[in-house]
């Protein structure tokens, strides 16, 4: 999913770099209220773990592989703002140290994975959590479904970038269809890894899990005009 230099023209890449920079600035503010002394180390671990798992490409179909994006996973564990920061750190390391993801495409990649992947994953997580009974296992199930859909959403976001500034002239519809089709399969892998990882953290330290916080402090929920 890491876009190399050249796929998308420079003006579009620059526009997305500006959007990505704004998203990071907002996330720096937002993360302050979601992270405290207890949860900040988990945020560091989340970024580290996502870097590691992103190295593990898994086969999805003949000659195709995919890897975790981690947006839904990070959002559920540490909140969406901190998640955007965590995945941006991962993308910066990959682009600057390992030549993975073009430097001119950094804003495009941050937008797709750190913003779209995170927020689509987190929004679906919240919706599914509402439908499920209040329990610990519901958190992992809702995270799984959020992860599943976050990947085709990030793929569709690439389709949008290609429509706006693709340097080649292939059919935009074909790019959308192929990207989403392939990434639905990769989303299944994303869902499995996310489900297991969230379940593992829930089993050991559910009190640190951002997506579970509302359930542990019902008093706060009532004050929010529910």
């Amino acid at each position: 999913m890491h876009i190399p230099d050249g796929f998308i023209d420079i003006p579009t890449s620059a526009a997305f770099a500006a959007i990505a920079a704004a998203a990071v600035a907002i996330s720096l503010k937002g993360a302050k209220s979601s992270l405290d002394e207890k949860t900040a180390p988990l945020a560091g671990l989340t970024a580290t773990f996502i870097f590691a798992v992103q190295m593990l490409n898994f086969p999805v179909a003949a000659g195709t592989s995919g890897h975790l994006l981690g947006g839904a996973l990070a959002a559920v564990l540490i909140g969406p703002f901190a998640a955007t920061l965590a995945i941006t750190v991962v993308l910066l390391m990959q682009g600057l140290l390992f030549a993975d993801g073009g430097l001119s495409a950094m804003g495009l990649n941050v937008f797709n994975m750190s913003v779209v992947g995170v927020w689509v994953g987190y929004t679906i997580f919240l919706l599914v959590k509402k439908l499920l009974p209040r329990s610990k296992s519901s958190i992992a199930i809702a995270a799984t479904i959020g992860a599943l859909l976050s990947v085709p959403a990030a793929a569709a976001s690439f389709g949008l970038q290609y429509a706006l500034g693709g340097t080649s002239t292939f059919s935009i519809g074909a790019v959308f269809t192929a990207m989403i089709g392939t990434h639905i399969l990769i989303g299944i892998g994303e869902a499995i890894i996310t489900g297991f990882a969230v379940a593992a953290v829930m089993a050991s330290r559910s009190d640190l899990v951002y997506g579970f916080k509302g359930e542990t402090t019902p008093l706060e929920v009532r004050t929010h005009n529910e």
Binding site: P4, D5, T46, T48, L85, A86, V90, L97, H183
Partner: protein, 106 residues
Amino acid sequence: MNKGEAKKSNKLLIGGFILSFFLAGVLSFYASSSHDGLVKVAGEIGFIDSAKDHSFSSGPLANYGIKGVENQRLSTGLAGVIGITATGLISYGLFYVVRRKNGVEK
């Protein structure tokens, strides 16, 4: 945070770091080397030719390997360990700075 909680928290952090170390340092060698979804789609549709070489494509760690280390298992594993260490240090540092101090600003 009481003592038991802190202990459990350390267990999660240490366990998580060891797991990341294993995944990036050992298991990464066995990762699929097939094209990822985007590259595959780019190849099928044809826009793969518009890709340019990465600015750092001849860098010392390019493509998750250490330049000059012939042993593929060692090269990938070391690159992975460098990657998680760098990501860990920078993200721990960042979140340490960003976090809300307990008792303040609540």
